[in-house]
C-alpha cells in the first residue's frame, strides 16, 4: 500500500496572503455525532419497519370505508397474547436493570424469560389463526379478515426475526460479554423488541376498533 508516499499534499504553514477561513461552515473540532452507530442503525431500521406498517395501515383505513366491509370477531386468545408480549417487554427491562448492576445471572434469566414469552406469543398467534380457520374465517373471507391475517402475519415474521436477534444477545449474555459498561447489543435489541410490541398494540387496536 502506497500510504502517504508520493503526491499526497499537506497544507503548508505559510501564512496566507488573504484573511481567509476556508469557506463552508465552521467545522467542529472533532466529529462526535451524539448517537452511536448501532443505535442509529437500529433507529433507522425501526423507521423502515414503521413505514411498512404505515403503508399497510393506510390501506386498511382507506378500505375500511368501502360498503362491502364486514367485521370478524377476534378470538379472545388475542388479548392473552397481547399480555404475553407486553410481559416479554417488561422482562427486558428487568434484564437491563440487572446488567446495569452487573448481575450476570439476572441478565441471563430475564433475557431467557423474554425469549420464552416471545415464543409463547408466536405460538399463541398460530393458535389464534387455527381458531379462526376452525370458525371458517380465512384469509379471503372478508377485508377485515384479510388485514387480520396479513398484519398479524407480518408482525409475527418481524418478531421471529427479533428472536434471532435475541439468540445473538443471549449468546453474549451466556459468555459473560454483557457488562454494565458495555451492553449495547442488549440495548438495541431491546429497542427493536419494544418497538415490535408497540407495533402489535397499534395493529391490534386498529383491527379491534374496525
Amino acid at each position: 500500500m502506497a500510504g502517504i508516499a508520493q503526491g499526497q499534499r499537506r497544507g503548508s504553514i505559510i501564512a496566507p496572503p488573504s484573511n481567509y477561513d476556508g469557506g463552508g461552515g465552521q467545522g467542529e473540532s472533532s466529529n462526535s455525532f451524539p448517537i452511536s452507530k448501532k443505535h442509529l442503525a437500529t433507529w433507522l431500521l425501526l423507521t423502515a419497519v414503521a413505514m411498512l406498517f404505515a403503508g399497510l395501515s393506510s390501506a386498511y383505513i382507506v378500505l375500511r370505508g368501502v360498503p362491502e366491509w364486514q367485521n370478524i370477531t377476534m378470538p379472545r386468545l388475542v388479548w392473552a397474547n397481547t399480555l404475553v408480549l407486553f410481559a416479554s417487554s417488561v422482562a427486558i427491562e428487568f434484564a437491563r436493570a440487572s446488567v446495569r448492576k452487573n448481575k450476570t445471572d439476572g441478565v441471563k434469566l430475564w433475557l431467557s424469560v423474554s425469549g420464552i414469552l416471545g415464543l409463547t406469543f408466536l405460538v399463541g398467534q398460530l393458535a389464534v389463526w387455527r381458531q379462526l380457520v376452525q370458525a371458517g374465517v380465512y384469509l379471503q373471507t372478508t377485508l377485515h379478515s384479510s388485514f387480520f391475517y396479513v398484519l398479524t402475519g407480518l408482525h409475527a415474521l418481524h418478531l421471529a426475526g427479533g428472536l434471532i436477534g435475541l439468540a445473538v444477545v443471549l449468546r453474549k449474555a451466556f459468555t459473560n460479554r454483557l457488562t454494565a459498561d458495555s451492553h449495547e447489543p442488549l440495548q438495541v435489541w431491546g429497542m427493536y423488541w419494544h418497538f415490535m410490541d408497540f407495533v402489535w398494540i397499534y395493529c391490534f387496536l386498529l383491527l379491534l376498533l374496525a
Binding site: S12, P16, K37, L45, T47, V62
Partner: protein
C-alpha cells in the same frame, strides 16, 4: 467487534486474503461499489436491448423480423412481434432501468465507492451488511431476468403494475402468472438490499466523518447520497407493503385491489370490496420519491464534477443543500400528479397541482446555481466535464416539460402520452445517465489506477448528447399529437399516422445512440487493463478527500492517520493561492506551489 480497525503501514493484522475474499466476497466498500457498477452496466445492456426491440416495433409495426423470429420464436410468431411480447418489453425495460440500473449504479455504485473516501473513513459502518446488500441485489437481478424466460413470459402491466390488471393473475392475460410473481419477488429482494445499503450510508455519513468535516463542508455528492438514503428508507417499505397486498390478491384470494363487479370471460368473479386506486396511491407514494432517489445523487455528482472542471466553487452551496432537502421533503406530497385522470377526487387533484409546481422551485434554484457555476469559469474540457455540462442541459429540458404535466388541466390531454415518456426519460433516465457517465470517467483513475481513453470519451459524449436529444426531444411532439403510451401499433389509429416519420427518426437515432454506449463499455473495460497508468494521487487537481489517496486506493483508504479537514470542498481559484485549487485538508492557503 464489528468496528473496522485502522491499517498501520506494515502492520497487517488480517491474514492475507485469498482471491475470492479479496475480489469477490469482499467487504471493502470500494470493491462492493465496483460490483454494483458492473452489475448495473450488465442490467443496462439488457434493459437497453429491450428498448431497441421496442423501437423496432414502433417505427416499423408491419415489418416481419425473420432473424429475431429464429432467436425468439414465441415472441415473434409468424415473423411479427407479438403484442404481449411488446408489452413485456415495455414492462421489463422500465423495471430494469429504474431499479436495477439507475438506483443501483448511482446509490449502490457511487454511494458505496465514494462515501467512506469522501468523508475520510476507512470503510462503511457495517462492512458485512454492505457486502450482503450487494449479493441480495445480485439475486434480485437474476430473479428479474428470469421473468423474461419463464413460460407465459414476463409481466405486461408496465413497471407501474396497476391493479386490477396485475392483481387478477392469469385471468388478466399472458405474463401475469409466474412472470409477475418473479417480478414481485425481485422487487422485494431489491427493497431488502436497498434497506441495508441505506442503513449503512446514513450511519456512516453521520457518525464517521473525519475530524473537521462538518456537515456544511461535505461535497454535494455526500449530501445527495445521505438525503437519498433517507428517502429510500421512507419510501421503499411502502412499495413493499403494496407488493405484499398484491401477492395476497394474486395468490391468496384477497380483494385489496380488486373491486366487486369484475367480469372476466363473461362471468362475474368472486372478489369484492377492493379499490384499484389504492394500489396507485401506495405505488406513487413510493414512486415519486423514487424518481428523486434517482436524480438527487446525479445532481450531487454533477454539481461536484462541474465545479471541479470549471475550477470554480459551486454557486451558492448552501442553497444547493437546502434545495435538495426541500425537494426531498416535498417529494412526499406530490404523488397525486400521477393520478390526475385516475378517478381520484378532483379536489385532491388541485392540491397536488399546487404541491407539484411548488417542487419546481428548488429544482429551478439548482439550475440557476449550475449556470452561476459556469459563469466566469475556466472550463477544462475533459470527458467528465462535458457530461456534467450535458447533464445541466438535459435536466432543464426534462424539467420544463414537467411544468406542463404538473398543470392538471393540461395533464388531461398529455397524461399517458409520449409527452410523459419524453419528460421522464429526460429527467429520470438521461440526465442521471450523463451524471453517472461523468462520475465513471472522473473516478475511474481512483478505482483502477488508470485513465479511460479521453478521445473515446469525447466521441461518446458528442454522439450521446446529440443522440439523446434526437431520441427524446421529438417524443414531446408525438405526445402533443396524441400518441398514447404502451401502444404496440400506433398505425392502428388514423390520427397518429401523420406522425409516423417521427417514430422512424427516433428509432434510427436510438440505434446510433446505442452504438455510442457500446463504445463506452469497450472503453471502460479495456481501460481497466490497458488504460494509461496514473501515478499521481490527484490527476484532476480536485479538492475532495478521495484525491488524497493513491490511484487506485488501497485497502484502508488513507495512510496510518486519517485526514483532517480544514475547509469546504469548493476552494477552486481562491484569490492569492498559488494554484487554482486548495484541498480540503489544507490548513491554510498555500502561497507557493506544492511539489
Amino acid at each position: 467487534m464489528t468496528e473496522t480497525h485502522s491499517h498501520q503501514e506494515g502492520e497487517h493484522d488480517h491474514p492475507k486474503l485469498g482471491f475470492w475474499r479479496k475480489y469477490v466476497f469482499s467487504t471493502d466498500h470500494k470493491v462492493i461499489g465496483i460490483q454494483y457498477m458492473v452489475t448495473a452496466m450488465a442490467m443496462a445492456v439488457i434493459g437497453g436491448t429491450l428498448s431497441l426491440l421496442m423501437r423496432l416495433q414502433l417505427a416499423w409495426p408491419d415489418k416481419t423480423w425473420p432473424f429475431l423470429a429464429k432467436v425468439f420464436p414465441l415472441a415473434f410468431k409468424g415473423g411479427h412481434m407479438a403484442p404481449d411480447f411488446y408489452l413485456s418489453l415495455v414492462t421489463m425495460h422500465g423495471t430494469i432501468m429504474v431499479f436495477f440500473l439507475f438506483t443501483a449504479v448511482l446509490t449502490g455504485g457511487f454511494g458505496n465507492f465514494l462515501i467512506p473516501l469522501q468523508i475520510g473513513a476507512r470503510d462503511m459502518a457495517f462492512p458485512f451488511l454492505n457486502a450482503l446488500s450487494y449479493w441480495i441485489f445480485l439475486c434480485s437481478c437474476i430473479v428479474i431476468f428470469s421473468a423474461l424466460l419463464v413460460q407465459g413470459g414476463a409481466p405486461l402491466g408496465g413497471w407501474t403494475a396497476y391493479a386490477p390488471l396485475s392483481a387478477l393473475g392469469e385471468a388478466a392475460g399472458p405474463g401475469q402468472g409466474t412472470g409477475m410473481t418473479l417480478w414481485i419477488s425481485a422487487i422485494a429482494l431489491f427493497t431488502a438490499s436497498g434497506l441495508m445499503g441505506g442503513l449503512n450510508y446514513i450511519t456512516t455519513i453521520l457518525t464517521m466523518r473525519t475530524k473537521g468535516l462538518s456537515m456544511m463542508r461535505l461535497p454535494l455528492t455526500q449530501w445527495a447520497l445521505l438525503i437519498t438514503a433517507v428517502l429510500g428508507l421512507l419510501a421503499f417499505p411502502v412499495l413493499l407493503a403494496a407488493a405484499i397486498l398484491l401477492v395476497f390478491d394474486r395468490a391468496g384470494g384477497t380483494s385489496f385491489f380488486i373491486p366487486g363487479g369484475i367480469v372476466m370471460n363473461n362471468k362475474l368473479i368472486e372478489h369484492t370490496g377492493g379499490h384499484p386506486l389504492l394500489w396507485q396511491h401506495l405505488f406513487w407514494f413510493f414512486g415519486h420519491p423514487e424518481v428523486y432517489i434517482v436524480i438527487l445523487p446525479a445532481m450531487g455528482i454533477a454539481s461536484d464534477i462541474l465545479s471541479t472542471f470549471c475550477r470554480k466553487p459551486v454557486f451558492s452551496y448552501k442553497m444547493m443543500v437546502y434545495s435538495m432537502l426541500s425537494i426531498a421533503v416535498l417529494s412526499f406530497v406530490v404523488w397525486g400528479h400521477h393520478m390526475f385522470v385516475s378517478g381520484m377526487s378532483p379536489f385532491l387533484g388541485s392540491v397536488f397541482t399546487i404541491t407539484t409546481l411548488l417542487i419546481a422551485v428548488p429544482s429551478a434554484v439548482k439550475t440557476f446555481n449550475w449556470l452561476g457555476t459556469v459563469w466566469g469559469a475556466r472550463i477544462r474540457f475533459t470527458a467528465p466535464a462535458l457530461f456534467s455540462i450535458g447533464f445541466v442541459s438535459l435536466f432543464v429540458s426534462g424539467g420544463l416539460s414537467g411544468i406542463f404535466l404538473g398543470t392538471s388541466a393540461l395533464d388531461i390531454q398529455l397524461q399517458d402520452t409520449y409527452f410523459v415518456v419524453a419528460h421522464f426519460h429526460l429527467v429520470m433516465a438521461i440526465a442521471p445517465l450523463f451524471a453517472a457517465y461523468a462520475g465513471l470517467y472522473y473516478w475511474f483513475p481512483k478505482m483502477f489506477g488508470r485513465m479511460m481513453s479521453e478521445t473515446a470519451g469525447k466521441i461518446h459524449f458528442w454522439m450521446s448528447f446529440i443522440g439523446v436529444y434526437c431520441v427524446f426531444f421529438p417524443m414531446h411532439i408525438l405526445g402533443i399529437g396524441g400518441q398514447m403510451r404502451r401502444i404496440y401499433d400506433p398505425m392502428n389509429y388514423v390520427f397518429l399516422q401523420p406522425q409516423q416519420p417521427i417514430n422512424v427518426f427516433i428509432s434510427v437515432s436510438a440505434f446510433i445512440l446505442a452504438s455510442a454506449q457500446i463504445l463506452f463499455l469497450v472503453n471502460f473495460f479495456v481501460s481497466i487493463w490497458a488504460g494509461k497508468r496514473v501515478t499521481e494521487n490527484n490527476p484532476w487537481e480536485a479538492t475532495t478527500l478521495e484525491w488524497e489517496t493513491p490511484c487506485p486506493t488501497g485497502h484502508g483508504n488513507f495512510g496510518p492517520e486519517l485526514p483532517v479537514v480544514h475547509r469546504w470542498a469548493f476552494d477552486y481559484s481562491v484569490p492569492g493561492a498559488a494554484e487554482d485549487f486548495v484541498p480540503q485538508t489544507a490548513a491554510s492557503v498555500p502561497a507557493v506551489k506544492q511539489v
